[in-house]
């Protein structure tokens, strides 16, 4: 009897497998949009408004047109002749938005004309040569000022600049917001011993992906088809919109997201530059390219956050939370983009946080200002909710002189309450919040930290501790919750040589799915990781898909992959059964072979069975040749990962400079496919959460000019800004998908931010401060230390 000598392949799911993507990325061997070069390709540059609000009086393109190498110049009015206004992806009312402004500009950086030239440099020079004069209008930058309608109304059909005047939700509010019953919320506040009340600013941020945006569009007049390469998180959604605005069928457009150097939510949106580039390619019948530069990125790529919260939290003296009121005012910027209007609705949705809160009332007002439009940014609505509620909980703990952990513990939704229907109508899938809290307290040595803090204080140092819980909504999910559809798609193919190709509609741009998905298939089929290739980011190869956002690629895309794999495996088992003259249910896939359970000598190599499936002589009865199948996965619900983050921070008494001494993050994302990649995702999220708390802020002056228009003034966090992160986790699988995986891409931004602000408030508690708005600018802290002297 021959014994099988093949080395036993380890199970890979759950292992710390290094990212297969990284060698090419760090060796400069990856292909980004700007690496795409086509014969005859022309280059686009946008002339952008340098005023925040104004009527275009004249545009003189004659000098630009006369320049050698300039193919064409289009004003906004000329573009409008062949390009319809930009669509949005939400059902909210929205003003007309032209990709290139026709008569009025509403934010600094809005495109007013387009140059097409033989190279990028000529295009840029020609854009400079376009002379635009404006009748400048007053600009409004502050969103509460904008709500007065003074000094300007940005869109005539939206009085007082209100994009959404007032949208209520929560306890006593019907799902469509049309009927509102205040009984419960009023009763909750009426019986409160304590009410915390605070206005909080969740400031504007610039997403700042390492790779800016870029587009190459190639309309082939002979075929009537369009190929568009774009640095996007969702090529299939891009295809849908590009087809619609170019009068093409979706079969006639191929969208490719090559290597994408980060998105952070800002590359979900379908941008004017994508529409314009494709429309010009179609009009001129030539390939054209546009690559965003960094200065453009600061004004032309959507910003994140920028929402005010008026928070009121009612509780009894013993720390039982009775009710929450959250009045949200969100800054849209100058226009609604794809998801702009919907992002703050996620803040409303997550107002219930991790607590039993008997009555919640949120209202949302959305406001236009003369600033770059906002849209999704890592966390997209959920960090805002977490921040407002956790800050209020921290203030309540301080008011009640209660340990912030203890206050949370008293109010947690309990494990036996899941699935838990929140006051906002969300159904939390699973959770054990106390377990995550305890793990974080233990990991951080909370009691010891308090001793250290007090010892430092005794020496005059300003040291503080902060703690925050979070729950977020991930695995964005059923089609009822997404206008694009909430499923994901995958096709798994066993090639003739026994290697595996699999497509996914998820479109990773840093999430590592080429590794995690290969781990899953390697385990499923008992083959080496190296034999699996994950294909993504090309609608010509990936038949269907939605994309990567809302921490959904593993929970939704991974499940579709698993399902498609199961279908193929079942068919492969039939071919193997025929070869081995065995029952298909008795087969074992492992170590690159398919064998009969209990008699390992009766085996065929994986490649042999694969080859047989493609040259099936004789073809087993009832089978078609080939091994390829697909699956769509529609989850029944979102997933709700959660965790607890703890910070220790010191503030220099003389200068106000904050230093983050410690950050402990306990995250529960359900089952993990690859803990190494999960940690990387958390590290990145923490970096951006810490960045928001401490050093990042988009600043405009009163005229609507962007002051933080470069990395000299906009602080992007770097490694030296952080302590060594201390990570731990709990595992509470979700019942929503068979993997039990919840998603983790955004988690790091949720708990870190409020925990750091809580630590800063704690550090400055001797000065009687209760809340500090982000970012923790040293001067701001110095003023608190100096009694607000001005």
């Amino acid at each position: 009897m021959p014994t099988i000598t093949t080395p036993v392949l380890p199970k890979l799911v759950g292992q710390r497998v290094k990212r297969r993507e990284d060698p090419r990325l760090i060796q400069g061997r990856a292909t980004y949009v700007d690496d795409v070069a086509l014969i005859g390709m022309q280059h686009i540059a946008f002339k952008r408004s340098d005023v925040a609000h104004g009527r275009i009086r004249t545009i003189d393109t004659s000098a630009a047109k006369a320049m050698e190498g300039v193919e064409a110049v289009f004003t906004g009015a000329e573009i409008a002749e062949f390009l319809a206004p930009m669509p949005i992806g939400t059902p909210f009312p929205s003003p007309e938005h032209r990709a290139v402004a026709v008569d009025t500009v509403r934010y600094g950086g809005e495109p007013v004309a387009v140059v097409v030239a033989s190279d990028r440099y000529i295009a840029r020079d020609a854009a400079d040569a376009i002379v635009v004069t404006y009748d400048t209008l007053p600009a409004v930058v502050d969103l509460e000022k904008a709500m007065t309608g003074k000094p300007t109304v940005i869109h005539p059909d939206f009085p007082n600049n209100l994009a959404v005047p007032l949208l209520p939700s929560g306890t006593g509010v019907s799902p469509d917001g049309s009927s509102v019953d205040d009984t419960a919320i009023n009763a909750a506040f009426a019986k409160a011993d304590v009410v915390i009340s605070q206005r909080m600013v969740n400031q504007r941020l610039a997403p700042s992906a390492m790779e800016g945006r870029g587009v190459v569009a190639h309309f082939e007049p002979g075929k009537g088809t369009m190929t568009i390469w774009s640095s996007t998180q969702n090529p299939h959604i891009l295809r849908t919109f590009i087809a619609a605005l170019n009068g093409l069928g979706q079969d006639q457009v191929r969208a490719i997201a090559p290597e994408v150097g980060g998105g952070f939510g800002a590359k979900i949106n379908i941008y004017g530059e994508e529409y314009v580039t494709s429309a010009i390619s179609k009009r001129l019948g030539i390939p054209v390219k546009w690559i965003e530069d960094r200065s453009e990125s600061f004004v032309a790529t959507t910003h994140g956050r920028d929402i005010l919260g008026y928070v009121e939290l009612a509780a009894t003296r013993d720390g039982t939370v009775l009710g929450l009121k959250l009045r949200l005012i969100a800054d849209i910027g100058a226009y609604n983009m794809l998801l702009t209007a919907a992002i703050p609705t996620l803040t409303m949705m997550m107002a219930n946080a991790t607590y039993n809160i008997p009555a919640i009332r949120t209202t949302l007002t959305e406001v236009f200002t003369n600033k770059t439009p906002t849209d999704a940014y890592r966390g997209a609505g959920r960090p805002e909710a977490t921040y407002f509620v956790e800050r209020a909980m921290d203030m309540l703990a301080r008011e009640l002189k209660m340990d912030p952990a203890e206050l949370r513990r008293r109010n947690f939704i309990q494990p036996k309450q899941f699935p838990f229907v929140t006051q906002m109508g969300a159904i939390y899938d699973s959770g054990d919040y106390e377990k995550a809290l305890d793990k974080a307290l233990k990991t951080a040595k909370w009691d010891q930290l308090k001793v250290e803090r007090d010892a430092a204080r005794a020496k005059g140092r300003l040291v503080g501790l902060g703690l925050a819980m979070y729950v977020e909504v991930c695995g964005i999910g059923p089609s009822s919750s997404l206008p694009t559809g909430g499923w994901e798609h995958s096709q798994v193919t066993i090639e003739r040589d026994g290697r595996i190709s699999a497509t996914t509609g998820a479109s990773p741009h840093g999430q590592g799915n080429e590794t995690t998905f290969a781990q899953m298939l390697a385990d499923q089929f008992g083959v080496p990781l190296e034999h699996v290739t994950i294909l993504h980011g090309d609608t010509g190869i990936v038949k269907q898909g939605i994309g990567t956002f809302g921490s959904r690629s593993q929970a939704v895309g991974g499940t579709a992959l698993h399902m498609a794999g199961a279908k193929v495996k079942s068919k492969m088992a039939k071919f193997a059964a025929a070869l081995l003259e065995a029952n298909e249910d008795d087969l074992v896939f492992e170590n690159g072979t398919i064998s009969v359970k209990g008699s390992p000598a009766s085996a065929k190599s994986f490649a042999t069975v694969a080859g047989f499936a493609y040259i099936p002589v004789p073809l087993p009865e009832g089978l078609e040749p080939g091994l390829s199948d697909e699956a769509f996965f529609e989850p029944t619900n979102n997933t709700y990962p959660f965790g607890c983050h703890i910070s220790m921070l010191e503030i220099d008494r003389k200068t106000g400079e904050p230093t983050l001494l410690k950050l402990v993050a306990v995250d529960d994302a359900g089952n993990l496919i690859n803990p190494l990649i999960v940690e990387g995702q958390i590290h990145g999220g923490l970096a951006q959460g810490i960045g928001q708390a401490m050093i990042e802020e988009v600043v405009y002056n009163e005229d609507g000019q962007l002051v933080t228009g470069s990395f000299m003034d906009y602080a992007l966090p770097r490694a030296i800004d952080f302590p060594r992160f201390e990570l731990a986790g709990t595992v509470t699988p979700t019942p929503v998908n068979p993997l039990g995986a919840k998603g983790v891409g955004e988690a790091g931004t949720l708990g870190s931010t409020p925990s750091i602000v809580a630590a800063a408030v704690d550090a400055l508690s001797e000065f009687g401060v209760k809340h500090i708005d982000m970012m923790l600018r040293p001067e701001k802290l110095w003023r608190i230390i100096n009694g607000g002297r001005s």
């Binding site: 990028r120 200068t655 400079e657 990395f711 602080a715 040293p778």
Partner: protein, 285 residues
């Protein structure tokens, strides 16, 4: 982020660079590390017709001890200054300042001469040059001259450097008892306020002190009031604190921006003066 067209030529020697500079008729700019110039060109705030690359002229680079002085070539990159064993041992203040500049990429490209010539109001090196009473060596096709640091920095981005001159290097007497203290601007890592203090001590008593501040106003400036207050004094925590209180009082035209108001900068000058002095004193013993 694309500059206007320009001519580029690489100088192979100092003489070659001077000849090219002269030939450019005032329309040429010297390119060394390019970390100040190139961003300005990309933003089209600077549009030189000709760039003369002096980054690869061997005679402009290097750190040497000579007759009790130290010379640093203008083309020496910040990283080399920051990690120089000679400087760490004999004059750590300048190595500290270099290590605080920007980030590793900047420090591997940016040069001492470039920083001095550009004279950004928040640059780190100028404060140190003042504290070390450094000689700045300049050369043109017509000849050489030496300018004292405190005469060199004249105003916002303005230095005593003619259009046909190149900074060749700096020379100073090493001071062990010297230190640099800085309030970082967190985006750029320039100094909101940076103070370099150098002490000449006789036991615990100050023979003389030299203190330079950067970031506070239009250009790096000596804090002479503090220097005078310290001269002849025995140094202690309290005497340092008392002297530091005078820091910045005589400065006018404080900078103000989103990172720090005038008032805050004014308040930070004494704080960082005190820190620089305390650190310098610690190195004296």
């Amino acid at each position: 982020m694309i500059s206007m067209p320009f001519e580029y030529s690489r100088a192979t020697s100092l003489e070659d660079a001077l000849a090219k500079l002269r030939a450019s008729n005032g329309e040429g700019k010297l390119l060394a590390g390019g970390h100040s110039l190139v961003p300005l060109m990309k933003l089209r705030l600077s549009e030189p017709k000709t760039l003369i690359d002096i980054a690869r002229i061997p005679e402009l680079s290097g750190i040497r001890a000579k007759d009790g002085s130290i010379e640093i070539g203008a083309g020496t990159v910040h990283h080399e200054v920051a990690t120089s064993a000679l400087l760490r041992q004999q004059c750590p203040v300048i190595a500290d300042a270099a290590a605080s500049i920007g980030d590793p990429q900047v420090r591997n490209r940016g040069t001492l001469g470039g920083s001095l010539a550009h004279a950004d109001p928040s640059a780190d090196y100028p404060a140190v040059m003042l504290a070390l009473d450094a000689d700045i060596h300049l050369k043109s096709a017509k000849g050489s001259r030496v300018v004292k640091a405190h005469d060199f920095f004249q105003g916002l981005f303005t230095v005593d450097l003619a259009a046909d001159e190149i900074i060749v290097g700096v020379q100073f007497k090493p001071v062990k008892a010297a230190a640099y203290a800085k309030l970082y601007q967190r985006a750029s890592h320039f100094a909101i306020v940076g103070v370099a203090a150098a002490l000449d001590m006789n036991g615990r008593t100050v023979r003389s002190a030299r203190i330079g501040v950067t970031g506070a106003s239009s250009h790096a400036t000596r804090l002479t009031k503090v220097e005078e207050q310290l001269a002849g004094k025995e140094l202690s925590t309290s005497s340092i604190e008392a002297a530091s209180r005078l820091a910045g009082a005589a400065l006018d035209g404080f900078n103000s921006d989103i990172h720090a108001s005038e008032e805050y900068r004014r308040a930070m000058v004494p704080v960082f003066t005190e820190r620089a002095l305390a650190a310098a004193l610690a190195r004296a013993s």
